[in-house]
Structure formats: C-alpha cells, structure tokens
Amino acid sequence: MSAARPHEGARTAAHHGEGAPVKQPMSTTCELLVIGAGPAGLAAATRAAGLGLDTVLIDEQPAPGGQIYRAVSSTPVQDRAILGADYWHGLSLLEPFSKSGARHIAGAMVWAVNRQDDGFEVAYSITAAGQEPQAGLLHCRHVIVATGAQERPFPIPGWTLPGVITAGAAQILLKTSAVVPTGTTVLAGGGPLLYLLAWQYLNAGVEIHAILETTPPGQWRQALPHAWGFLRSPYLGKGLKLLRAVKDKVPVIGGVDALEAIANAQGQLAQLRYVVDGETRTIAVDQLLLHQGVVPNTNLSRAIGADHAWSERQDCWEPVVDAWGATSVPQVTMAGDGAGIAGAVAAEHRGRIAAVHAAASLGRLDVAERDREAAPHRALLARAIRGREFFEALYRAPQNFRRPVGDTIVCRCEEATAEQVRQAARMGCQGPNQMKAFLRCGMGPCQGRFCGLTVTELIADEQQRHPRDVGYYRIRFPIKPVTLGEIATLPQTQASRDAVVRFRK
C-alpha cells in the first residue's frame, strides 16, 4: 500500500513524485483495478498483488473496511465487547493488504468506467480537505467490482422524516463516531442486522424501547426446508446466542403488519403508529431505525453494461456472474455482496476467487494453476455460505413492505408517491425508464438507488407482470453527480483536444 490519505493517494497515482502539487491532473495505469475496499475488495487486491498483478484498490472512504468494517482502524469504540469479534475480524484484512504491494487510492469516488482498446479508462474524483474536487483518470486491463450492498428500500409512510434513519446508518454512527441514540428508540423491520445493532447497543448501554418485527410469524415454515444447511452452519450457535441476548433485554413485538412515522409541527419524527393483530397502536418516539435486509449496489455494474437478473429468493436484482464472479462484460469481474448478497465472510473468499480469475484472464495463470490456486478459497466459501438459504427464506422482506400504496413516498429525491407510480402503471407506463418521463422518479441525485427496486415491483404489481419482465432503470455514467468544474480538471488527451478543436474555424 503506497498511500493512506486521499491527497497522498492522488499524488502517488499521478506519478508526479513527492512534493508535486496536488492540483496536477491525476492519471495512473495498472493491470488490475479493484473498486471498493470492503472485505471482497481488500481480499481481492491483496490476493491479486500476491499473484504478481500490478493492482490498485480504489475506494470512497478515507480508510479501507467498507461498511461492514467501517472505521475498523480508527473507531473510537475501543471496548471490543461492544461491536463484537465479527467486526474486529476486519483488522485481519488490513495488514496483509498494506504489505501486499497493491496501491490504495482512498477517498476517491469512481464515476465512470469506459471500455477502451485493450482495457478500461476509469474516471474518479477526490476532494481533499478544503479544496475543489479533482478528477483523475486511471487505465487498467481488468476490473474487479466490489461495490457491496446497500439497505433495501423500506418505503413506509414517513420514512423520509428527520429522525428516521436506516439501521445501517445508525451502526455507521456508532462505528465511526461512537454516536448513539438517546430518548425513545425503536428498531423496526427484520433481518440479522437489526438484531446485531440491537446487541451492539445493549453492549454499549444504549436503551432500546422496542423492536417491531415485520417478519410474518409463520415465515419460519418457508425456511424449514433449508434448515439442514442452517443446522450445519458455523454461525448457528453465535446467531442464536445473540438473538437470545437481545430478546432477554428488549421487548420484541412480532407480526407487525403496518408502520407509519408521524411528524410534529417542525416536520420531524414524533410518533410511530403500527398495526399488530389488527390493533393499531401509537407511541411517542425520538428515533426510528429501519431495516429489511440489504441488496446489491448495482449502479456501477449496470452502467458498465453487465447483465443483471431478478433474484426470486432475495427479491432484488443481481449481476449475472459465473462461479469466478465473471460478468457478461469481458475483463469485468464482481466479488462480494455486490454480486449477490452472501455476507462479509463469504465476500472475502469471493474476492480471492475473483483475484485468481483476474490473474488467469490476464495470462498469469493457466487453467490448472487457476483451479489449484482457487481450491482453498472455494472450500472456505462453501462453508461460509452454508445456511444462507435458511436466513433468506426466514427474513424475506414481506410484500406489503416492499410494495407500498397511497401517499407513501417511493422516490425520496423527487418525492414521487406509491399511488402516482401505480397510477402511471395503470395508465400503461411501459416500465421504469418511461416512469422517469412521467414522474421524474429515479432522476434525482441518488440515481434510483432508493426507489428503483420499489418502482419495478409497483409496476409489476399493477400490471400483473414479473419484475424480471418489468426491468430496471437504464443506468449511465456518471454514476454519481459530478460538477462540470470537476470534469474540467481531467487530464487532457490529444483526442479530447481534437474533439473541441475540430469545430474551430
């Protein structure tokens, strides 16, 4: 690893040597670019460098770890019993990476990946403290996309109110800044992360008023056929212990059918209304933390042109990948939750498998060597994903919380409601792309990340079609908002100058 701080990373990448001004245009070349420094990206970059590939790892955050190991090298929560051993496992990925020889560009937002001749041209931006954002270019021959997961949209009435945040966001506040809720805090939804956060809060002495469980009470029956794998899962004992610890201390209200966050006069969260057993209850709350699972973050893989398919088990889109993580785009490989949710431990092994594949596809390993190198990772991956189907079936997000009705906001950016989307679908709107023309949904700064799945499902619901046939937004670069000023800082090429000069008299 040759850089830890953003501007140093930029300078190293710019090949201008020590002491060169940061404002110089940035450009670098490598054989393999790994995008995303979570467990998959860290493991992939480390393994690839070990196989002799000239590797760069690029990531948005100031330090590696991704969201799961966010701030693992800097967290103020130093009592290890609070965040737990699974979090601190992240440290074991950092040292091998720093010794691997892979370069690290931190604090860099990738906004375009374009195919070019024998590889890719990648555009990214870095904003150093107190400076204008600076865009850079990177040329590579193979890309491993390890962009991870994001929270599944949880569109209930009032989910946009200040005071309502995702459980993942609350956990990031804890990890990065030791900031925790005070007053009346309710966790609502379902899935392992909800209980992990509750457990961490209890460890930290944070009071939780209640957990409202939206998983239908009978859902364990759907999970039962997968119980064999679950019973042999290495995580079974740990998971049950955690669940028991939480249920001992926090009231868990099961079978919640509806949730509504209600604002006070200042437009901030004040009350929570929920329905259980046909009875509506309203309580005063200070915080509502929502979670109903995570889904792959697909904007980059879509913009790059990889095929995606609808996952029946997880009710979301996944890139289509083979056992190596290879996508439909040559020399683009995916690893970790971005290639389909399987968890942090699996992500590591998937990262290493992708690295071995990248080395083979760049001619460093023949097929026999590739298979031999990957074999131990495959064995560990098989162990890590044992029991996943059980969890997926048990915590499947219920349809009524994925397919909202009425005034509930679907597109947070453009404030399009469920009924507006449904009405447009009833009028014959052909799909999510035409929905943009009707309602602008998906056209705000988040670029559909928090409405895309819901829009697909609502159109499917109204038109009695399968989500796979409804499709998704067409995602194009830049995949994050950039300013013209940023683009203007890109290094100029002869081709880019010619493109402008051509039109001069």
Partner: protein, 102 residues
C-alpha cells in the same frame, strides 16, 4: 436525539474540531463526518427538499441516498456523510433547490 458514548477511563480523547452550522459553533470529534457531527449536536435535519420544501436529514450515512446534502464552505450539494469535519468549516443547511452558479 443522539449522544456520544463516554470515552472509557484512561483512553485519550480525540481532538475537538470546531465547525459552524448556519453560523452557530458546533464542537465535534476529529474524524467525524459532518453528518455524524450534526446528529451528535442534535440536528437530525440539514436541508429542505427541492420539490416540496419539507425537512430532511441524513438517512443512509454511506453516500447512497443524497439526503444529507448541505453547503460546505460555500459549495452547495455536498454530502455531509462523506465529508469529514475540519476546523473552521462553515456548514449551511440547504433550503430548497440550488441555483446554477456560472
């Protein structure tokens, strides 16, 4: 509301960084994102939306939702959750849509 966990006895506390939010001084912990600092200071809302003008605040804390957009040192549309606090940083709540600055 949010609060900071007490630092365990014997642990060196992080340096305090002072920023302003709409002119008011806010002390934060070095390494905080602007969004974390806002939560810790009891400010879960940081903007009014461009469409209907209602209050919004950070939601995902990981750079995905763009609900935490604020002005930072005069630059609009900055993601509070992706920006770290710095001494003297001036943060302003964003009211409604931005204007194009030429």
């Amino acid at each position: 509301m949010f609060r900071r966990l007490d630092a365990p006895a014997g642990q060196v506390a992080a340096r305090t960084v002072r920023i302003t939010v709409d002119g008011a001084a806010v002390d934060c912990r070095e390494g905080d994102s602007v969004a974390a600092a806002l939560f810790a200071a009891g400010m879960p809302a940081c903007r009014d939306t461009a469409v209907s003008g209602v209050a919004r605040g950070p939601f995902c804390m990981m750079g995905v939702c763009y609900d935490c957009l604020v002005g930072i040192d005069g630059r609009p549309n900055q993601q509070a959750c992706m920006t770290r606090v710095r001494d003297g940083m001036a943060v302003t709540a964003q009211r409604g849509a931005r204007e194009v600055v030429v």
